[in-house]
């Protein structure tokens, strides 16, 4: 049981272990060739892996490395024993001739710290002492020296730059220039792999950097919708073991899974997913809940409304009134409005003595701002008077209408007011004030 859980957990949460789509397999082979050339033939390579988030390069790059698990410095595996088990000599080769450095564009503020990080990772891997105070120049020289040593011992260095576009957006691009320039020297053996979700990432490079980059781009894309079911099956079905006791459980589980996959609701869900976003990460995230409900025989707890409508349904009456006033103002073709004009509209529409005070309305207005249902449209700092700053509604009319429908406390008069162009009639005012007082 534990083993099965372990397998599933791995597949679901560890991108390295998750199965790969057929379309990604092609990319995988390309990457494999690229590394093979770097490692066995001492060809320095650079490549960009592009593709939308979630489906993607990241998984690809890691899946690549997963094939060559033991790291040279970390593992003390016995080579002879390995030889018996490892069929492909390449696999063996990858194990011991590779060293890897990973960087992420989001983590390193500038080229200096990024280069420092490279030096640090290399130092940690090879148990060298890392000096924090080393400058950009010194770190660069260190990298050159260590690459020289690497190539003397036929060891390749793989540099993976995650969020490549962010590195390319740094001024001067000195890190990229230097890394790619190192690839040109005969005394180094390395590959630089950039990962980015921007399809135009290579256009960001400066001319001299682009000239050094090898222009290899590998595109990772979400799988076509037909493959999703197959993918789910690959993720969820447990391999059946030989021992009888476990096999029984596994078979039972697998049967359940295949029954679930055949269900209409599941198919519907998969189709919906394919229509919206079919990246593996998204699929796993959204299918998992449904599967759990099925396995535990519980009712699904998915919310009835989309999040914005839920947010609207939770609002107080006064807040709904303010939103409706805004909508009415927009209908009157007033492009911008301030809190004051919104409050005036509210007062005009609701001419009664027990209307809310301006202070209360302002509180409600602030609350709406906090929930990002409305927003200041001038986008400047807080310095000006907030009562007079232009605001805009951030939700559409349809959403507001649905929200009014969904709200349990929305008075009928408000709905009426929403749909009517003019002021509220005397009659509806009375009923409305009655409603409000009843709620209070």
């Amino acid at each position: 049981m534990d083993a099965a859980m372990q397998i599933l957990r791995c597949r679901l949460y560890d991108p390295r272990a998750s199965p790969v789509f057929a379309s990604a397999e092609e990319n995988r082979r390309k990457l494999y060739d690229l590394f093979r050339h770097t490692i066995c033939q001492a060809c320095n390579n650079s490549a960009l892996l592009l593709g939308p988030r979630g489906c993607a390069p990241n998984v690809g790059a890691r899946a690549r490395f997963e094939r060559n698990p033991g790291d040279f410095s970390g593992s003390n595996f016995d080579r002879r024993e390995d030889l018996l088990f490892v069929i492909s000599p390449l696999k063996l080769l990858f194990c011991c001739f590779r060293s890897q450095v990973r960087l992420n564009g989001l983590l390193h503020a500038d080229d200096r710290s990024a280069l420092k990080e490279i030096a640090k990772q290399l130092c940690v891997e090879h148990e060298l002492e890392f000096s924090k105070a080393a400058s950009f120049e010194e770190n660069l020289r260190f990298l050159t020296v260590i690459l020289e040593q690497f190539s003397l011992s036929h060891k390749a260095l793989v540099l993976v730059l995650d969020e490549f576009d962010l590195f390319a957006q740094k001024p001067k691009q000195s890190l990229l220039y230097n890394l790619l320039d190192l690839l040109q020297s005969p005394s180094s053996q390395a590959a630089v792999i950039g990962i980015s979700c921007r399809l135009d990432a290579d256009q960001l490079l400066e001319k001299r950097v682009r000239s050094r980059f090898s222009q290899r781009k590998i595109l990772f894309l979400p799988p076509p919708s037909e493959e999703i079911t197959r993918f789910l099956e690959a993720v969820l079905v447990i391999p059946v073991d030989s021992s009888a006791n476990l096999a029984q459980h596994a078979n039972a589980f697998n049967a359940k899974i295949s029954a679930w996959l055949q269900m209409e609701t599941t198919k519907e869900l998969v189709n919906k997913l394919a229509a919206l976003d079919s990246s593996p990460r998204n699929i796993i995230d959204s299918v998992f809940r449904n599967l759990l409900d099925y396995l535990k025989n519980t009712k699904s707890t998915t919310p009835k409304h989309p999040p914005t409508i839920c947010a609207l349904a939770d609002l107080s009456v006064l807040e709904l009134f303010l939103l409706t006033s805004m909508k009415r103002l927009e209908n009157k073709e007033r492009d911008t409005y301030t809190f004051n004009s919104v409050f005036k509209e509210y007062q005009d529409g609701y001419k009664s003595s027990d209307s809310y005070s301006k202070k209360a309305a302002y509180k409600a207005f602030e609350h709406l701002l906090e929930r990002e249902l409305i927003g200041y449209s001038d986008g400047r700092a807080v310095s000006t008077l907030s009562h007079l700053r232009p605001v805009k509604m951030l939700i559409s009319f349809e959403e507001l209408e649905q929200g009014l429908e969904a709200s349990p406390i929305c008075p009928a008069t408000l709905r009426q007011w929403y749909s009517q162009p003019g002021d509220l009639s005397m009659f509806s005012l009375i009923t409305f004030s009655w409603n409000v007082s009843a709620e209070a």
Partner: protein, 705 residues
């Protein structure tokens, strides 16, 4: 090898030279060797005998005798910081009780007596003294191996004493300072005298009691150019301690606790190069694999083995890291630069043309040409056609800041690392009156600055100084600047432009004929490529950029594709052996075109496609490039409801839009702007129509395009 002869390195035994050629495969690499009662490990420092005969008659003393009584050992000794002579504490006048802190100068040096004259009796000389007197060498063992006949060998990287460098001993050199060279020689272990210990300056200052054979080394010395380079930090302290404990087992000689070299600049950075462990790590892996099938497959650019296929050979020849023997198609520029350098080197020529500005787009061989010229000059230098000179190269993008130029230049010239302000001051003095300097310092110096445009600061003072120095009388400095833009001098202040813009060489992009020549030159010796394929590739690149790197990469990619094709094995075609037009074509499409956008659009989810179409629809309706999310969502629901699709929620739609924006299919503001978010297609709307024209899951979409 010629350099080696100049410096007088010669292997100890006559057998050495013949042995050089023995193949790697016959050797058995080991990490330690026991020989003549000594254990030598990779990464250790040793004394190496210069001549076999010279060594015998002097006893191998590890301990120095007292300069006063002449006896060895016994009491605690103290070392003079000036002459390095040893004294018993008791033999001094007045006798010292304990070793004093700080520098201690012996009475002889205080009286400024000449040290060497006095002893009539023959003194024992320690290995340290003999090394400093250039009678021994020091080297670091980089590899150890047993030859096929069982004799142990090592390859050692030489150290130099300051006197052996071109600039001689300088005032800031410490008395125990050594310089590491790049020069590695193979010798028999027989020639090793015994261990010595070379530390980084910091460890050296910490270590006070390791005996007489301690040295420190802070710089690499480039023998070709007589320049110094700081050694980068690869220190490993665990190993160090191990070594220290070993050293302490030996006979101790108590000397002054303060051996800190007098002028080592204080730096926080831990510089050093004790790479022992590192080397061991690497070479173990190396030796383990020797002989296995894996390593044999490994290809080195310099030796093209016989078992390589034609395509593999071609790939190696085409890779950017291979340095070709010469550069075709740049003969004219080469001549110009060579003429400039030769002119500038002529002594007594007080012209102002000592700056050269080289411009050209990337990948046109600017740096390669200059380096090639320098190689030729080096050859001329060895035949004494021109006077000796120094060469310093730097790259603007490798510097921490533009001001760092001064530090690097000063360090390269003198081997002293200073802050840039101080370095600027000293350089300024140096170039104002170069005549006053003697020896190697008076040689002309050629400075190559790559990526010159990176040195532009707000006040442009770095560039001004760089180009002002050569114009001063007697500065003997010439500057070659390389940058991409042709009009860099014009963009700078007039006072810089007038100095640097006098002589220029501009590298134009390669034409297709030149590219073809370059590729064929690299490929000479292999028949992997069809002629037409090479021409096609070079025409293609020349039409776009004329970038040689691009052309080489393109051909390499084509070779890879051909290799792939051959492996997958449609061997029935007669022509598959060669890399043909089809492969180049495939490589071109892969590299030059950006099919990504269309492929990515085709692979989008259904609603993302509708989103894109809605954008196009809005664009056609309003004629405005920029629209808001509000409008697009309205168009989207219109499209959906007209064609029987369930329109997605606004929230989902917003996230779809943001995802498209993330891939840069759209340009958009942040998603928190919701309805007000501004959107714009990142490419012509025709691309959308083209990509989605015959889309299977949305047949109705065509009518909106």
């Amino acid at each position: 090898r010629s350099v080696k002869r100049d410096l007088g390195f010669s292997p100890v035994l006559p057998r050495a030279r013949s042995r050089r050629k023995s193949r790697d495969g016959d050797r058995k690499y080991v990490s330690r060797i026991e020989w003549n009662d000594g254990v030598f490990e990779v990464g250790e420092d040793v004394y190496v005998r210069k001549l076999e005969s010279a060594e015998r008659d002097e006893s191998d003393e590890e301990v120095e005798d007292c300069r006063v009584c002449g006896k060895v050992g016994g009491e605690v000794m103290i070392e003079c910081d000036a002459c390095l002579g040893g004294f018993h504490l008791g033999c001094l006048e007045p006798p010292l009780e304990e070793v004093p802190g700080g520098d201690w100068i012996c009475f002889k040096c205080e009286k400024k007596e000449a040290v060497g004259e006095e002893p009539s009796r023959r003194r024992h000389r320690t290995a340290r003294e003999r090394l400093l007197a250039k009678e021994l060498w020091a080297a670091r063992i980089e590899r150890l191996w047993m030859e096929a006949d069982g004799s142990p060998w090592f390859s050692g990287r030489w150290y130099l004493v300051p006197e052996e460098t071109a600039s001689g001993r300088q005032p800031h050199n410490g008395s125990r300072e050594l310089f590491r060279t790049k020069h590695v020689d193979h010798n028999e272990v027989e020639s090793i005298l015994r261990h010595c210990y070379v530390f980084s300056p910091e460890d050296f200052s910490k270590a006070s009691n390791e005996g007489d054979d301690v040295f420190y080394c802070e710089y690499d010395y480039e023998m070709k150019w007589h320049t110094f380079k700081r050694i980068v930090d690869l220190a490993d302290h665990d190993f160090e301690e191990h070594e220290e404990s070993k050293a302490s087992n030996k006979k101790r000689r108590s000397s002054t606790p303060n051996k800190t070299p007098n002028k080592t600049p204080k730096r926080k950075v831990n510089v050093g190069f004790t790479m022992q462990k590192f080397f061991i790590l690497l070479y173990q892996s190396h030796t383990e694999v020797t002989g296995s099938e894996v390593l044999r497959r490994k290809i080195f650019p310099e030796d093209s083995g016989k078992d390589l296929t034609e395509i593999e050979k071609a790939k190696i020849a085409l890779s950017l890291s291979t340095t070709p023997g010469s550069l075709p198609c740049r003969e004219k520029e080469c001549k110009e630069i060579e003429a400039f350098v030769t002119d500038a080197l002529k002594e007594g020529l007080e012209n102002l043309g000592k700056c050269l500005y080289i411009s050209g787009v990337p990948g046109t061989g600017k740096t390669a040409t200059v380096l090639d010229v320098m190689r030729r000059m080096e050859k001329k230098l060895s035949t004494k056609e021109i006077q000796p000179y120094r060469f310093v190269a730097m790259n603007g993008l490798r510097l921490t800041s533009p001001e760092q130029t001064y530090t690097v230049l000063h360090e390269a010239l003198t081997g002293q690392r200073l802050s840039w302000k101080r370095a600027l001051q000293l350089l300024d003095e140096r170039f104002s009156n170069c005549k006053s300097l003697g020896g190697v310092d008076s040689r002309p110096c050629i400075l190559l600055v790559d990526e010159l445009d990176l040195l532009v600061t707000r006040s442009q003072s770095v560039l001004y100084n760089l180009f002002d120095w050569p114009c001063r009388p007697n500065s003997r400095l010439m500057v070659i600047g390389i940058a991409n833009t042709i009009d860099l001098p014009e963009r700078l202040l007039p006072r810089i432009a007038s100095r640097m813009g006098l002589q220029r060489v501009s590298f134009s992009p390669y034409s297709y004929i030149q590219l073809q020549e370059i590729i064929s030159f690299r490929l000479s010796g292999t028949e992997a490529f069809e002629k037409a394929a090479v021409e096609f590739a070079s025409r293609k690149v020349a039409a776009v950029s004329g970038d040689a790197r691009r052309a080489l990469e393109l051909c390499r990619r084509a070779a890879e594709l051909a290799e792939c094709r051959q492996k997958s094995g449609d061997l029935e075609e007669s022509n598959t052996r060669l890399i043909g037009m089809a492969d180049v074509e495939a490589a071109v499409t892969e590299m030059f075109q950006a099919p990504h956008v269309q492929v990515a659009m085709r692979m989008c989810s259904k609603h993302a496609k509708i989103f894109l179409v809605a954008m196009v629809y809005e664009y056609h309706r309003t004629g405005m490039v920029e629209t808001t999310f509000d409008q697009v969502s309205r168009a989207q629901s219109l499209l959906c409801s007209n064609n029987g699709e369930q329109p997605p929620d606004k929230d989902v739609l917003l996230s779809i839009g943001c995802k498209l924006g993330e891939c840069r299919l759209l340009l958009c503001e942040t998603g928190s702007r919701h309805r007000l978010q501004k959107l714009q297609l990142n490419f012509p709307s025709d691309d959308v129509s083209f990509a989605l024209r015959d889309c299977l899951d949305l047949p109705w979409i065509t009518k909106y395009l």
